[in-house]
Amino acid sequence: QEKFFGDQVLRINVRNGDEISKLSQLVNSNNLKLNFWKSPSSFNRPVDVLVPSVSLQAFKSFLRSQGLEYAVTIEDLQALLDNEDDEMQHNEGQER
């Protein structure tokens, strides 16, 4: 089972077409193994991206160097998945 230890989800607030195009270049690039949950599209829609722990430093440096504002929305994806798994197992037990 694939694990996501230390992987983070970042929310990037794009403010203009230039920022959208900077991010769009990364959508089809496989270098940082990014997984765009919500792709860059228009100014008023934030971009959500899952960043593997190994790429975090590089990706955050890229965002900073390009002046792109971001916030971390999920600190550790695996921790969240573990919680959800516990909750599902709990519910399953209740049904039985």
Binding site: E2, F36, W37
Partner: protein, 308 residues
């Protein structure tokens, strides 16, 4: 419910299929579980058919959920909706009159292989699980695989991409099963796809910025539906055509439906705070389903009153 299925929890594929069976057993005169095909890994694909009429192919609405397997709130909302339809028939005048005139087909898990994979291997899996010859990457995006400007804007030809369109239109057996069923039936008037997670209600087109011929009517209906939805707990939906509201996306289900004569074609992006991505806490399932139901009902009432 006569059984102890917990509508406020996430469930396995087997549990959802079992509950579909229970609903059909509890309401044999109204609901029937129909097998419409199978997935790449040979799992059955079941719809619930809700009908008060016999024999003839009555006008019908298709409710499609779970095409992107990780969007668990959509499968959960769909199974809640199934129970809601049977419970409210002959109690709520709106759903009663809808069912007096039309049939409803509800597909709660449009991508069964992906759904099982999200529960056993990778929670964030989106695509089908078909093999791609010449690539180690698996699956195609089943919402880029329909024959509507296939392989156009907003889809990728890279099998490793999350939006890979597949080798050809309908290459994914899950998509083909729905297409074949709808075409054979021949009298669908509405097609509504349920996704998550950004509170949008969209209509064609996704493959182009061109305006759909019925855009004004669809926009009006969508705004009414969004207003009804918001009346439950204030969840605000953005409304508009897919291409300009979220992003360009070719080969999508609702564009195919619309281009094939199903005028009332909509996509919901259900509630989520965005904080948890595709991990909407289970205690949000019922509130989400309840508000979505009002949106769905508004659209179905419009279909009922505007059959063509």
């Amino acid at each position: 419910s006569s059984n102890n299925f917990n509508y406020g929890a996430y469930h396995s594929l087997e549990a959802i299929y079992h509950e579909m069976d229970n609903i059909a057993a509890d309401f044999p005169d109204l609901a029937r579980r129909v097998k419409i095909g199978h997935s790449f890994e040979n799992r059955p694909m079941y719809v619930l058919k809700f009908s008060t009429g016999k024999g003839v192919r009555r006008p019908a609405v298709w409710l499609n959920a779970g095409i992107h397997s990780r969007e668990w709130i959509s499968q959960a909302t769909a199974i809640w909706t199934a129970r809601k339809i049977v419970s409210d028939y002959q109690r709520d005048p709106a759903i009663t009159s809808i069912l007096e005139k039309m049939d409803i087909f509800l597909l709660p898990v449009a991508n069964p292989d992906g759904y099982v994979y999200t529960q056993t291997q990778n929670r964030l899996w989106r695509k089908t699980r078909s093999r791609n010859p010449g690539s180690s990457c698996i699956g195609a995006d089943p919402n880029r695989n329909w024959n509507a400007s296939f392989a156009g804007k907003g889809a990728s030809d890279n099998p490793c991409s999350e939006v890979y369109h597949g080798p050809h239109a309908n290459s994914e057996v899950e998509v083909k099963s729905v297409v074949d069923f709808i075409q054979k039936h021949g009298n669908f008037k509405g097609f509504i796809d349920l996704h998550s997670y950004s509170q949008l209600l969209m209509y064609p087109y996704g493959y182009s910025v061109k305006k759909a011929p019925d855009a004004e009517e669809l926009d009006k209906v969508a705004r009414l539906a969004a207003k009804a939805l918001a009346s439950v707990s204030g969840t605000e939906y953005q409304v508009g055509p897919t291409c300009t509201t979220v992003y360009p996306a070719s080969g999508s289900s609702i564009d195919w439906a619309y281009d094939n004569g199903i005028k009332f074609a909509f996509t919901f992006e259900l509630r989520d705070t965005g904080t948890y991505g595709f991990l909407l806490p289970a205690n949000q399932i019922i509130p989400t389903a309840e508000e979505t139901w009002l949106g769905l009902k508004t659209i179905m009432e419009h279909v009922r009153d505007n059959l063509y």
